[in-house]
Symmetry: C2
Subunit: 315 residues, 2 copies
């Protein structure tokens, strides 16, 4: 499960909490703070929890930063983290800062809730469909963007992608990673989700497998469609086995919710989330009878997801 | 305050939580895990909270460890952390592990409690006394021990301390840092504590000042006695201004509780904690009328605290 659930001593309540921290992967400190916060709280959203009672912030400042750099970077990163917490309807009270060779940013998201506030992820049934709420390819986009300054790497992909494509994909990835999965969590309740997870470090297939393994019913997940940030499928292919994006292995940061929904509710879920947020969600697969594992079909359909105008609105 | 208190949406309950992480400072991975856990949960104990509902563990494994080293060190450190959590009556559910240039170990301690379960730290009154539940000098002891292998440093202190003294002080420091402040937290309720903090990175005077600053009454803290791990006062003096142990500036890790207690209760508190745990506590100062600050008198009495037999019982 994405967050731990601890029964409390008081009033039938449960403590749901999760922590995550990692190293910066975008060059905008403010957006990096937002991504870190969005990524932490996403584990609550994957459990259908929509309220976060408190956030702690975990920060390590790099000893390699000059004083000037530190004075510019750290307030921006902290502001991004706090602004995102505010969007999530919570606030940051507490945390810890150290000095470290590498920058680290992360946090702890905690909520105390009644049993009807979270959705156990293990109730998928045969006939459900799988919905994904953000496109794949964040890691590929972030790497391709870094390669703009590394001719040797760039030469490997420049035949399949333009510099402008890469910049757009990077923007799309950055805003996607900073976007909260909170609306998705709300709609999981409205459309009777049977379970969900969020797609992060283990890639789509890794997390689909993790979700399949814990199912109560003898089901299997079959994925037919891969919504991918535009051009990143081609970049991944050009890099051989490095990312494995089309095989579902490429790591994502602060990825979308992967939700098992009743077939008759899934289209309405996708329509509703797009109406509320302006971002598409996709039906990417089905729940069959199976042995609690997940697979991607032989030639999945790649859905090219373009950058949005709104992804640049802060620039 | 040592932990943040967030009012919850349910039943008049509050969320009390705290996080801390740092770099290893003893060479025994199992004890290091215990120290990290003890240090995190200590912030709850400083608030008089005796129950911890959940612990998360934060871990970074050094990329400089060989596979063999990592396979030995990390399970021991994790076991130490978990064993200490068990001593604290809680368990570790969740956390995050990354790879980093430096090792990091820490955690998050969370409790959900009713208002009578915590003690606000701001109620000291003139006439109270200050009690400290662990000796000072952990940083000096840890450094002196490391200097046994650094002739240049060792030469600076060998006139005032023997190798055996240093090894004993290091043992004392290690076991002191691994010891939970839980009994102290229990007894804060029994003996009507008016507020407390735990002594860590800012040293005795730093934390005494922090506690003094938040008092509701116009009080000041005056410290007369400094209980210090045996010989470490002499080591600190021999190092000039490096540590500032006698000035209250030397950092402590997982230090004792500094508690403002009614004068007539303090001796009973000290007697009780020694009876229950076999470790002494000391009345180190008084609460006077003042301007919400703390000071150490000109020539404080140094209490030399010897290593205990029991400090070596795991060796």
């Amino acid at each position: 499960m994405d967050a731990c659930i601890t029964p409390l001593r008081h009033g039938g309540l449960s403590l749901v909490q999760t922590t995550d921290f990692f190293y910066p992967l975008v060059d905008d400190p403010y957006m990096m703070g937002k991504i870190a916060c969005s990524n932490v709280v996403s584990d609550l959203y994957a459990m259908g929890v929509t309220e976060c009672d408190n956030m702690l912030m975990l920060l390590a400042l790099s000893q390699k930063l000059t004083d000037k750099e530190r004075d510019v970077v750290s307030p921006l990163m902290i502001r991004g983290f706090k602004d995102c917490a505010e969007e999530a309807g919570t606030s940051v009270n507490g945390g810890q800062t150290v000095v470290n060779p590498w920058m680290i940013i992360g946090g702890v998201a905690t909520t105390v809730c009644q049993p009807n506030e979270f959705i156990m992820p293990d109730n998928a049934v045969v006939g459900d469909v799988l919905v994904l709420t953000k496109p794949l390819g964040t890691q590929v986009a972030v790497n391709a963007y870094q390669w703009l300054d590394q001719p040797e790497r760039w030469n490997r992909i420049k035949l399949v992608v333009s510099e402008d494509d890469v910049r757009k994909a990077y923007q799309r990835a950055m805003f996607s990673m900073a976007r909260l999965n909170r609306t998705g969590a709300h709609l999981m309740h409205k459309y009777n989700a049977h379970g969900a997870t969020d797609v992060t470090g283990f890639g789509l297939l890794g997390h689909a497998n993790n979700l399949a393994q814990i199912q109560k019913n003898e089901v299997g997940f079959v994925i037919h469609n891969l919504p991918i940030i535009a051009k990143m499928a081609a970049v991944s292919k050009a890099c051989g086995n490095m990312f494995g994006l089309l095989q579902g292995h490429s790591a994502e940061t602060s990825g979308g919710l992967l939700i098992a929904l009743p077939r008759e509710q899934a289209a309405a879920f996708c329509k509703d989330i797009e109406k509320q947020e302006g971002y598409q969600a996709w039906i990417i697969g089905i729940v069959e009878k199976g042995t609690r594992s997940a697979r991607i079909i032989d030639k999945p359909r790649v859905i090219e997801v373009p950058a949005k105008e709104k992804d640049g609105e802060l620039w």
